[in-house]
């Protein structure tokens, strides 16, 4: 029995033993980024680890903070990102990126866009962590094509360098909007970029037990209206579209678009410590993303200790291996348009890959076995 998701619950579900932690002897590192002008406090992290980190070796402070850490209150998202990235990617050097305030009080406006500032950082630092988990997303239709295409190129630059970028798939299910009077699902970017790994969300079947996982109804997923389907996922997507018994009307989505998410992890019912207060039942795919990212950091740790290069851009290999090393999630559907036609239901999970939980959630020892060799 448990009263919400803590590091022990996560480590039990994903089969992490007390030995599955960083060695502290490699140049391995990981990072989390959020752009909400939120700050995290090291004291929260220390308190979190004091409360929940007793059963595994861990670091109680971050190695590097990029961006001014304000003296303001800590934000739940910033606290959650760090606390769970350092619980699954335990004892691995961790960077935190958080954007400084936009007005520095001198009448000069950092009118920058925080996410753009992070991209510039990627283009200006030779030595960066291997894994980056990012909680940021916007509706595709609210962004210009020129902006999305250019950001997509920035992700290609990162992939060529062997960086692994993980983005939350979003918390609005398939999304919904009306185009010339007709409802359609609403894809999210950067989740829909073909050059990042997108992470969806699951819940426990019984919220108070460590059981199998089902879809968390908020888990973002669907098909891009901007980026065509990359060749690495064509077979998996075709298989889903040909076999799913619950497909929404085809007018709601673009079946030829980049489909996402690629993987998933628990996104429901987390304990977080923020401003020294333990807070229960926090939910969102910005929780599942650092969890999955920390596990990839652990796999990088083993690869580096074996003299292999880090994982890099994961998707081609992930789809090639057809989700080996992942728990397949086959129950549940995510939310979408509240209308007669689809009645609030978007896509549903199914065997193999699906546009709600991707290939599924990590089974660490099995995933390590499939990814440790180049």
């Amino acid at each position: 029995l448990h009263l919400g998701v803590t590091p022990s619950v996560i480590r039990e579900r994903y089969n992490l033993t007390a030995q599955d932690v960083g060695s502290g002897t490699t140049n391995n590192s990981q990072a989390c980024a959020q752009f909400l002008e939120q700050y995290f406090h090291n004291s929260d992290l220390a308190e979190f680890m004091r409360l929940f980190g007793g059963k595994f070796a861990h670091q109680a402070s971050v190695a590097h903070v990029v961006g001014k850490q304000g003296r303001g209150r800590a934000g739940i998202e910033a606290s959650l990102d760090v606390e769970y990235l350092m619980s699954t990617g335990a004892n691995i050097s961790t960077w935190v990126y958080s954007n400084p305030g936009t007005a520095d009080g001198t009448g000069r406006h950092e009118s920058q866009e925080p996410f753009l500032q992070w991209l510039l950082l990627l283009s200006n630092q030779s030595a960066l962590p291997y894994v980056h988990t990012v909680s940021y997303g916007d509706d595709e239709d609210s962004l210009s094509t020129a902006y999305m295409q250019r950001v997509n190129t920035e992700f290609m630059k990162a992939a060529a360098r062997g960086l692994t970028l993980l983005f939350a798939s979003g918390d609005s299910g398939a999304g919904c909007w009306s185009v010339s009077g007709r409802h359609q699902f609403r894809p999210s970017f950067p989740a829909s970029s073909p050059y990042v790994t997108t992470v969806g969300g699951t819940s426990f079947q019984n919220p108070f037990r460590v059981t199998n996982e089902v879809v968390d109804y908020i888990s973002g997923g669907g098909f891009s209206n901007v980026f065509p389907q990359p060749s690495y996922q064509e077979e998996a997507v075709t298989q889903y579209l040909n076999s799913s018994p619950h497909l929404p009307p085809s007018s709601y989505f673009n079946a030829t678009g980049r489909a996402y998410p690629d993987v998933a992890a628990l996104s429901d019912g987390y304990w977080v410590v923020s401003n020294n207060v333990p807070i229960p039942w926090v939910s969102g795919t910005s929780a599942s993303t650092p969890v999955f990212g920390g596990l990839l950091s652990l796999i990088n740790e083993h690869r580096i200790l074996s003299g292999h290069p880090p994982l890099g851009f994961l998707n081609p290999r992930l789809y090639k291996q057809r989700g080996a090393g992942l728990f397949d999630v086959t129950h549940g559907c995510h939310e979408s348009c509240l209308n007669e036609e689809v009645q609030g239901e978007g896509f549903c999970s199914g065997p193999g890959w699906d546009p709600v939980t991707g290939w599924g959630t990590p089974n660490f020892p099995a995933l390590l076995k499939t990814l440790i060799n180049p």
């Binding site: 029995l1 009263l3 752009f35 909400l36 002008e37 939120q38 303001g72 934000g75 739940i76 954007n99 007005a103 009448g107 000069r108 406006h109 950092e110 009118s111 920058q112 866009e113 925080p114 996410f115 753009l116 991209l119 510039l120 283009s123 200006n124 630092q125 030779s126 239709d141 609210s142 210009s144 094509t145 020129a146 902006y147 295409q149 250019r150 190129t153 290609m156 630059k157 992939a159 060529a160 360098r161 979003g170 918390d171 609005s172 050059y195 019984n206 919220p207 108070f208 429901d268 229960p280 939910s283 969102g284 910005s286 290069p309 890099g312 851009f313 998707n315 081609p316 290999r317 180049p374």
Partner: protein, 186 residues
Amino acid sequence: SYSPEPDQQRTLPPGWVSLGRADPEEELSLTFALRQQNLERLSELVLAVSDPVSPRYGACWDWGGIWGKYLTLEDVAELVQPSTLTLRTVQKWLLAAGARNCHSVITQDFLICWLSVRQAELLLSGAEFHRYVGGPAETHVVRSPHPYQLPKALAPHVDFVGGLHRFPPTSSLRQRPKPQVAEAVG
């Protein structure tokens, strides 16, 4: 002139309030995304280092004397950096407009400059900067609710200008009510 981002949403996100026109002498920083080169080649390299079916997957490569499976930032810079013509055209255009404290990144494909609101509105025709406050942290930003245009001569050299339309994102994390279960929980 032409508009690099005709399809960028410019409506005010929920929770943001306009504080009126920005002071013409107020300073703001803008990010110019410069046109890159060799993107086809970049795409091939990404697949070569990431796709298990690629004959070069997992191999160690001699990247200009540095052995490794992946490119370094300097390799990427060498591949995608803007052409000399692009760099020169954009710098001349910005200097003529009075831009100051411009700085670039290692890959040279972004340029960040400080300008006064007056200079920025002259440089980016159609733009009109307003001050806004909003979001959970009462963030202050300067944005333009009107679309901007660039001289046609810049079309081959600039992808977009950042800092005009997109507002800081908001968190979608939620604290849900404690789940109820049929059986009593000890």
